[in-house]
């Protein structure tokens, strides 16, 4: 997931005009998209949720698609700020994985809707040029995680008998699917969930003999 070059909307929508209102509306839209799916969501439903008429949304945004775009790219930008900080910290492989997982759950906590949308829609969005940055991010993401896992195998902190790509998918999916059931303000804090997830992933759920 890349810190997107963000489509420069030259046309009309005031990107200048009050960014708070924009953000409010995007949050509303993200919530509806996450709940119903992007395609199944009508512009009118977003507008209803925002307390305005469908047409009024177009004062703030070019199109329904550009809302989706902005939701996803904003999320990815923030995500990579966190990831890049972790990767630059020079930690050992196990500590890096721990930090990445923790960071991920924090992002899920902060951008639950965006993550859920990303999970559901990103695959078929990458076909469109406008959303190529999703693949870019995906690749960068894979490099960071897979690289760390490989480093760990070489350093003998991760098992060598497993297919490394399988392990990668396992860890990756395990973390991000959480967005589909996670509700902020629930029983466990993001950090607590991260701790338990890491414990399962690293040590397994079986009792040690």
């Amino acid at each position: 997931m890349p810190n997107t070059a963000q489509t420069p909307s030259k046309k009309k929508t005031q990107v200048t005009a009050s960014p708070e209102r924009r953000r409010e509306l995007l949050d509303t839209a993200a919530e509806v998209f996450a709940a119903q799916g992007y395609n199944a969501t009508t512009v009118r439903e977003i507008a209803d949720a925002a307390g305005m008429l469908a047409g009024s949304l177009y004062y703030h945004f070019d199109s329904k698609e550009s809302m989706l775009d902005e939701i996803l790219s904003t999320f990815l930008t923030e995500l990579w700020e966190g990831y890049d900080a972790v990767l630059a910290a020079g930690l050992g492989p196990r500590e890096t994985i721990e930090a990445l997982v923790t960071e991920s759950f924090r992002e899920i906590d902060r951008h639950r809707a965006a993550v859920a949308i990303y999970q559901k829609e990103s695959k078929h969005l990458t076909a469109q040029p406008r959303f190529h940055y999703l693949s870019d991010s995906q690749q960068k993401f894979e490099k960071a995680w897979l690289g760390t896992l490989e480093r760990g195998v070489r350093a003998r902190v991760f098992r060598a008998d497993l297919d490394i790509r399988l392990t990668y998918r396992f860890v990756r999916d395990t973390v991000w699917v959480a967005a589909s059931w996670y509700r902020p303000g629930g029983q466990h804090s993001p950090d607590e969930i991260a701790r338990q997830y890491l414990s399962m992933v690293l040590d397994g759920i079986a009792v040690r003999p």
Copy 2:
């Protein structure tokens, strides 16, 4: 996921028509639904993929929705045949989990498209009465897995220090998300994938000290 035999077409569709052609068309439809999402798929795209015109599909099926219905219910019926056999076998908790995971990967191998559709669409489909059987299945599914896990904790074969519901979601998601990247005929057989997944889930990816 229940084997609710919800298929009886009430309206008109010729059940007389050769069931093989029906299945062929459903397979085609499932593939397209999985690739693009149900909502994003037009009836014309399915027809194109099947080499006919959109209207012609209606000789075989009542509606786009009934195709989805049939795809999902067929899959769930088969899935529960396998699951029920496992659950009736009277295995210990660890062996039950192993058998369920293995069975799941076999289903993914056989019904990749259906599983992918299920993953993406089931949440917002359960709202419709027609698809209530999806929630039924979900519940039955949860009871089987959660029950087995709890049994394992009591039997001291699974760790007691983890939130059991978190563990459940972890195992469940770990398995099913695989449908999003799995391609039949790949490097690893379903059983091999199951073996490695189980190894990770049960024993973790970290090297034991």
Copy 3:
């Protein structure tokens, strides 16, 4: 084209506002209307060209349509001042035609945009009561030109072997279509263009035997 003083704004627009600004804005609007067509022009494009926001135009004008109205009626008023002077001068038919053509090219020079708009839009505007004055003008126009041509035929200065209505349309169109390509400040002055046009219309482009 009549000088129907159809301008009195009945509704609200501040006529108090400086008339120069009004004229400026109308000139801008006319330019955009001429370039893109009235229907294809959005109020926002006019506002952009004027360096303000769309809504702000409504401080100056009732509606987009009233801008068009004012552009056209102002032009026609001026046109008829010139024409009426010519017609009142008591010239012979050939001299009258010469004077009318010359006057027309001067109007095109002064009101290029308005003339272009008139050419493109007048036909479908005449349906609306608000723009009935366009048909009135058209009729008065036809009477003046056709009458002069007929007078010329009777006086044996214009050919009698031509369909007089065809001749009328020929002369009329010949003159006014020029607005579609004419650019003020070009190579030829309006009077020079008029001279050459008259030479062609009166004597033809073929070399005399």
Copy 4:
């Protein structure tokens, strides 16, 4: 006006399907476009005129714009067939002009609506890449007419004292504006109109001294 490369509609509309219906609908659309202007015409008005619902038009055409495109390009293709035949005939300059004018009035007779649309819309359409062929045609058109006129001046059959570009515009506009008032089946046949126009253009409307 070029014999257009015609946009290859790859997407969906059956260009194969009954070309007669297509042509019928295009004729209807052309009539409405010519009467009201392209922008002022709604898809529903076209559909009403064709006795169907607005959406049904999209079975035959990609978009309102593609109808316009097909109307114009079909017309231009036919026009250039006629023009090219004339230009290839090796006539003298005066005879070439006569043949071109005659051919033009025949085209106006056959494609009155298309010509009217061309006159009104072509200028602002050329901005769009899709309609670049309009400029191409315009250029080819200019080369043919201007070239013939220059040839005529050199051959001393056309006057040398006139600005040749002015003459070109004069002749060109004179002919084509006729589409705005011409009604097929009127008093004069296209050939008769051509004859009188040529008489005016070549010899003028004034009586020879």
